[in-house]
Symmetry: C2
Subunit: 196 residues, 2 copies
DNA sequence: TGTACATCAGTGAACGCGCGTTCACTGATGTAC
DNA sequence: TGTACATCAGTGAACGCGCGTTCACTGATGTAC
């Protein structure tokens, strides 16, 4: 019972942090706001989590998990590997558009000076890229090592396109324009990779 | 003479800020450090520039200008549009690798809550993308409107690849691996775009 | 050329606030008898 | 079952520091006579 109370506290804090990140973004995230939303004292954050960064990582893990689910669903919805890849990209844009703040938080959060991003979290990121590997290998006949690199390159290209299209620093594009541009881009890329 | 003293102060501050950004990155940039390096009082920053953000933008403009120069040089070094595009990408990676902090600063800097990135600075960013348009239009026969979007998409894809390959959140890649992956990527993309 | 005065860029100590983290306390929970 | 005691999660006021920005002052520069 004592254990479950402790779990409840962690859960409340995590929920509160997640909601804040989804609604306002990581830039507006304050320890005080989170604990207030969670209905506990400021200091409790530090009995439940080592520090604020760890709590943020936990919230980002949830976002990654939701994103990963949608990517898996996109793969499952198709059997043709070509369509699977297009579906993955479409799912990625769609997630980014529907979860702007949470999605940005995945890449905007920085660890403090000395600290490294823990390995388990890096793995969660890498797992996303992994989702591309199967369809890509079905489509091309590449050696496994090359494949991992290709998947990663493809992921970061798509990511870059989505990211930039949502930034203020450039003229923002409408959702439809982004999706269309991404489709054209991926189409060309796959054609180019296949017809070597 | 009075005017030139004032210019000298702005220059000193800008140089100091630029050096700090190049050496330590934008995250470690403090008003006090800059003014100390520039050999002036803390308050002088605010007689020379409206605020710290404007000074940062000025420093980023310099970085953009240096980057733009290298991109122009890459275009000028080739006549074949296909090679020009490969050269542009190569120049981009190379600049990013040789100016990691300054390059990151271009995209990491955020304006405070209410403020927007000024238009002249957005233009400077857009000008980079513009460098792709000529070779791309020589290579493909696309309508001008489509072309701008394609150039932008291509730019952000390349940018995404370079960016992610330098992040801690993923396993960092060596410079050679990045360059090779980028070449393969671009090669495939151009093949795909041409052979429609 | 020299003197008195006005201006204002430049100064840097002080302000003000935000905000993550700590720590001495307390009250709920569990244990012993 | 009831009582005394120990433990420790939870508390929130206080700490501490970083840091951008301001503002009352001053000394260099320019102007008038």
């Amino acid at each position: 019972v004592a254990e479950s109370k402790r779990e409840k506290l962690r859960e409340n804090l995590l929920n509160a942090a997640e909601k804040r990140i989804i609604d306002q973004g990581i830039g507006a995230l304050r320890a005080r706001d989170i604990t207030q939303d969670a209905g506990c004292a400021l200091g409790s954050l530090y009995t439940a989590y080592k520090d604020l960064d760890l709590l943020i990582l936990a919230a980002n893990s949830r976002t990654l998990s939701r994103l990963h689910d949608e990517l898996r669903a996109a793969v499952a919805a198709e059997t043709d590997p070509h369509k699977q890849l297009l579906g993955l990209a479409a799912a990625y844009v769609s997630f980014a558009l529907n979860n702007r703040h949470a999605w940005s938080a995945l890449f905007d959060h920085r660890m403090p000076e000395g600290a490294e991003v823990p390995d388990w979290h890096i793995q969660e990121h890498a797992a996303l890229v992994g989702e591309i590997i199967a369809p890509l290998s079905a489509l091309l006949q590449t050696e496994p090592e090359q494949l991992a690199l290709q998947a990663r390159t493809l992921f970061s290209a798509v990511h870059g396109i989505v990211k930039l299209s949502l930034e203020d620093r450039f003229v923002a594009l409408g959702p439809d324009t982004v999706s269309a541009a991404l489709d054209d881009f991926l189409g060309a890329q796959l054609r180019g990779l296949a017809g070597r």
